[in-house]
Symmetry: C2
């Protein structure tokens, strides 16, 4: 169907080696350059990257595995990762795990078989064995957002510290009955809960078990957890919501029940994605530096690939989340 280098050879009379050299930016005689350019245009020739990759053992393609593509957080990260990779001349092969660990494991194998030069993962959960095949194949891996066990490079934010800071904002506003809604299976959920406890303890406040809600990373859970908190005999006066989906779910419940924020309940959330700007009132949040995370992940991975620095010790890069003030916290 499509033209090959042999068709170019037939059209120009040049040898395969010369054509290949030209395709890869090498020097050829001006007259040959003209002939080649004409033949390539004429025949709609495009390099077959399969063949090229087979011999060079490099595909200039990075696999990116995300736990859910439809998620705004991962979508935003993908955007920045993709931009960085493109700038460096790499393509991106995105795989969606659909929050399913089996699919995630298959995605990794798929990418290995496709001979990607490296893999970036925003993992579904905290189990790392699914990355074994990449390790065996010698393919560098960089994790984002959620760390696993220190075996791989990881770009993340100071989840625990930032969470402590978030809760301190509530405490500084005079709140003492502070609840926390978080995801239970993920790395970030665990870290952020620890930050919550850090702040409470540092302030000498009691941690009431009924104020800690843990469940899935979902709008649904955020919604029901908030409702349960409100139905307690002594509901909290402030809530720390530890991820974007929980921010959304919580706010849905408040709207549904007609509870006003910050008058009746104060909120602080995590992640400053578009929603935060549209919800009334504007929620105060700890914002993760999305662009920087994406860029750092791409750069770190490419450094490994291009320096092929064998077995460098895994690095953990921790970026700082920033406090963005909204109007969701009442001083008492």
């Amino acid at each position: 169907m499509s033209a090959t280098i042999r068709d170019i050879k037939a059209a120009t009379g040049l040898s395969l080696a010369t054509i290949s050299k030209f395709l890869n930016g090498g020097n050829v005689l001006p007259e040959n350059r003209v002939k080649l350019e004409a033949a390539i245009k004429e025949l709609h020739y495009e390099v077959n990257e399969l063949a090229r990759g087979l011999v060079t053992n490099r595909t200039r393609t990075i696999g990116v595995v995300v736990y859910a593509v439809e998620n705004t957080f991962t979508g935003t990260l993908l955007k920045y990762v993709g931009e960085s990779l493109r700038r460096r001349g790499y393509g991106m092969l995105i795989c969606d795990s659909g929050n399913d660990e089996e699919v995630e494991a298959r995605n990794i194998k798929f990418l290995i078989n496709k001979k990607v030069d490296g893999i970036i993962v925003i993992p579904v959960s905290g189990r790392a064995n699914f990355l074994e095949p990449a390790k065996n194949a010698g393919i560098p891996v960089v994790l984002m957002d959620r760390n696993i066990n220190g075996e791989f490079d990881c770009i993340k934010t100071n989840n625990r510290t930032a969470s402590k800071r978030a809760v301190e904002v509530l405490i500084d506003a005079g709140h003492t009955a502070i609840a926390c809604i978080g995801s239970e299976s993920e790395y970030t959920g665990k870290e952020r809960l620890l930050g919550y406890k850090d702040a409470m303890e540092a302030a000498g406040l009691a941690i009431r078990p009924e104020y800690i809600k843990r469940g899935t990373h979902s709008i649904e859970f955020g919604s029901t957890a908030m409702q349960e908190l409100l139905e307690l005999p002594e509901p909290p006066t402030a809530v720390f919501m530890t991820n974007y989906e929980i921010n959304l779910g919580s706010v849905i419940t408040l709207h549904r029940l007609g509870i006003s924020c910050p008058e009746e309940i104060s909120l602080i959330g995590f992640d400053d994605l578009i929603l935060s700007h549209i919800i009334e009132p504007k929620i105060s949040v700890m914002a993760q530096p999305m662009k920087e995370m994406g860029e750092r992940a791409a750069e770190t991975l490419l450094k490994h690939i291009e320096d092929s620095d064998g077995e460098a010790a895994p690095e953990e890069m921790i970026l700082s989340a920033k406090y963005i003030e909204g109007e969701s916290i009442r001083k008492i």
Copy 2:
């Protein structure tokens, strides 16, 4: 680095042909099957899809090019497309065009060079020449959401009819001063504006030029357009917002200016993505069948690939958007 079929040969004593046959699901003697499985596990053998693709001329991979990955609409579509493809044994190679037509054109070439079996595109705009290379290479293409010029298969919704219906809902509620905010460069923007006009004309209502706002497909534009409408000497009593981003932008403005909906202004929007459920009040919308669109796109493309039906006439599949009632329309 990784094991090849030759390593398996050395480990088992079998021939390349037998091993290949086994890898592709062929029958081998039970004892050989045992040997092969052991060797494969032992050596962490994984097929090199580059080599396989080179000889079979099929990669079982579909390229998907979207105008913006971080966009919830495309993310949702990607999710369903990906699920369908996986179910059929195909992988998905996602490329983000970042709303840039040059990047989009490069993405198509990238996918061709990677020898994908087919391409699904949610295009940036209405210019089709960027798909020429795919045509030349004989790679089937299916468009989603935005049609281009009838040269390719396309899965979309009844934008014009659905828009007419949306405006009729406003008219039926007694509104006559109805504005429309839409994107100007895209196929969907144009179609939806036509639907608006259809409804206005059918009802014998004047179409006031100052009530038609056209600009980019963005939250920013939705936001400023709504503001401009409100500042008119005679502001509209109802607004038809023709895409998701414009829904968001418009609502942000209302919130910022403290204008209440539906008391002071009535709204109807397009697309029922998560935001609609969190915004107060719940916006009435025309909802596109996201899952069906994704599935149909995948199925249509695979049919072309697997039947390799040469030059079948391009098909346009039109799905119906559904009216979802919210609380954003006041009867007058």
